[in-house]
Amino acid sequence: MRKFVIPSLLFAAFGIIAAHAHAFLDHASPLVGSSVASAPREVSLTFTQNLEAAFSSVQVMDANGARVDQGKAQISGNTMRVGLKSLPPGTYRVRWQALSVDTHKTEGSFTFHVGGP
């Protein structure tokens, strides 16, 4: 039993668990993989952890890879937003990289479609 006790005691000895971790994408607007009838004015990403604003970013591209986001991304707490140019119907890809406040890095991308299904 000693072998089970030792790690447990060490666990306890390190005390309170820090409330930080990898930042997963919790939800997005427009929704990941969704089709929207009218062009959104911004993309909003909400993560499971607070972000380090200086080292987190988002970009939005059209089917040709051209950037369609505009302005600087706004990062507050666990949310990252970026404005969009006027989007014609089509498929757009959102790429994001996030650094949670304890320096864990995550990244991802998804698409949404403008113009209905």
Partner: protein, 321 residues
Amino acid sequence: MLRRSSCPRAFALALLFVALSAAEALAHCFVGPRFFPATLATDDPCVADEMSLPTVAWSKTGDMPPATEWDISVELSKRITEDLGISIGDTWSNIHQPGGFTQAGFSNLETTLQYQLLKDGPHELALLLGLIVDWGGTGAVDSGLATPWSTLTPTFYFGKGFGDLPDSFGWVRAFAITGQIGYQFPTRSFDVVQNAFIPQVLAYGGSIQYSMPYLKSEIHDYQLPDFINHLFPIVEAQFETPVANNFGNSPITTGTINPGVIWVGTYFQVGAEAVIPVNQASGTGVGFLGQLHFYLDDMFPTTIGRPLLGGSSAPPQQLKF
């Protein structure tokens, strides 16, 4: 496979925890947007700061009549540098024979040194090399639950996510596979007690897994219940085939196929699998495997969740597009 020791083991565990250093915290098995959870029967393809406490297995042996076996394992994995890691683990077993006789005790202590060969984010590909050492004589040799000789198993691990398939593949992109193959050398070729040759063994296995988190965040958010979005349905398989020095022993391959599911949270994951023997020599009936697994890098990002040495202590590069 996880085995036993005594005081030196406790000391080693303490050293791993106490020797802390400053470095950037990344870890568990992220490869680009892909997260590979810690698998229960096989290993994931990354070095990491993690702890399985405990892994519990129940099964019936392939003996006639079968004995009932409980195994309780602990494993601690710690990064030494960003790409080099070590694991240390052990298993306590209790085997109850139908006639009432019971064997109980620790297996030999097992350590694994691993080096991360590759993490290719865009292709969601991870490659890892490892050397598993089962330290002879550190377990309950007298009870027959451990061997007096050691074994060395150089092992190659891989993981591949299918997120780099074209978008037209849709939900299929959330699949991933992992695998490992190792060659086990015993440090003795003959067991004088059993009067039998000790075979060299090919140990291999892997998993096919489906990532609900990946489906939600990369492909399509169906707004499923939060619990569902944390699940990884998985099928693991593990096999052992004697390939050399097996004179007089059974040449048969043994193994299990384990369908199950892993729930992944922020600081820990919980996994449960059925254990289906592939033949009579591998067991009788369907067993069970369960595991509680902690992400030390997320629980203790400034202390034991970091590599012991090196790493990138400099601030991360600001992202520019």
